[in-house]
Subunit: 154 residues, 3 copies
């Protein structure tokens, strides 16, 4: 970690910027997907969201839990639990000055595994497809964390 | 993204630091707000939190779901889903060296939309106030992501 | 914040890298812990996860909410709500060029409080141990945020 000031405008940093932005945008798209399922399933969490209902009984009926909405929300939660650690550890990893090819391998494996994870969760695909996608993503992040910790050796 | 080492102590970076810290502090304040509603509504999620109850029956009665507590928790969750992507993409955006005025516009629109979103969620204000606040915040983050992706063009 | 380019390969930054990685890894380990409790309690959220069941009735019975699983998930959620703000504000704090000893104090108090918080939540320990751990962690993050805001003074 000797020459961090030179790392920050390196190709590795540009690659990190791109992959981190892509995977964070993917995570953000779970919000509109939740909204889409809430409107098509007519299933809301807040009374003020049921404006499309005509009668008070209809409004109350829309305050319910729908399995499709919950599935998308669990996928979003799993993204928060996995993509944010990737971004944090990936940034620190980038600053340790790894080889471009090794870094690209980590970034691509992670982003690919999360794209597949979303497909496997939302469709859903039979297990263990979702479980394996989750493990591959965790593995990529752990591998980068190992380099961060062994580079800093406090 | 040629001269990142000069960007990092720029005015844009100082502005990002301030706005990111303010909006993350706002998000953190949802935790004490949840605690406040849990204590005033006497509604807890863990048996060990019901120490204020005198009898075992009172303790069990406090392990319940309260609509006001859930509203604050949903607002907190929405913050996690929106403010963290802003921080990540905003940092990468800052490092692309945007104009100060353009950057300030993005940061202020985002932070303003999230402050209004919290008010609209917790009171609550009638829709579509909360929905619009959420969309404006997403738009600011998407606009910054567009610049990051078009600056790095891998 | 005058000489940020020199800060980034400072000892404070190396310390931040280490502590941030450790505490994010701790947060990530809540996922396998959730999976462990889901498998030992036979309690799942998705129909496709109940492959170990032999009959359709067994599968349905496994789609339930288990108090031990929910406890681990609440601990994970509390980590997301506290550790991610620490990472964001801690990074900005690191770039303000604090004394190494002051920075180490903040990082160690935060990481220690979160490790204790997890123990106190999962066992669980009697209150107010978990509440105090949460407050100490919040305090460390607020203290760093104060320095960020007073260093940037826009």
């Amino acid at each position: 970690m000797a020459e961090l000031t030179h790392m920050i405008d390196s190709e590795v940093f540009l690659a990190f910027s791109t992959y981190a932005t892509v995977v964070v945008l993917k995570m953000m798209l779970m919000s509109p997907m939740t909204a889409y399922f809430r409107f098509t399933r007519k299933c809301f969490a807040n009374m003020e969201d049921t404006g499309m209902a005509k009668t008070p009984e209809d409004k109350k009926r829309m305050l319910r839990v729908d399995p499709d909405v919950e599935r998308v929300r669990r996928c979003h939660q799993n993204d928060l639990e996995n993509i944010i650690p990737f971004v944090v550890i990936g940034l620190l990893y980038t600053l340790t000055g790894p080889d471009l090819s090794t870094a690209l391998l980590h970034f691509r494996v992670f982003v690919g595994s999360r794209l597949f994870h979303t497909v496997a969760y939302v469709l859903p695909l039979p297990q263990p497809s979702r479980g394996l996608a989750w493990m591959v993503g965790m593995g990529a992040t752990f591998s980068m964390a190992y380099r961060v910790l062994s580079s800093t050796h406090l």
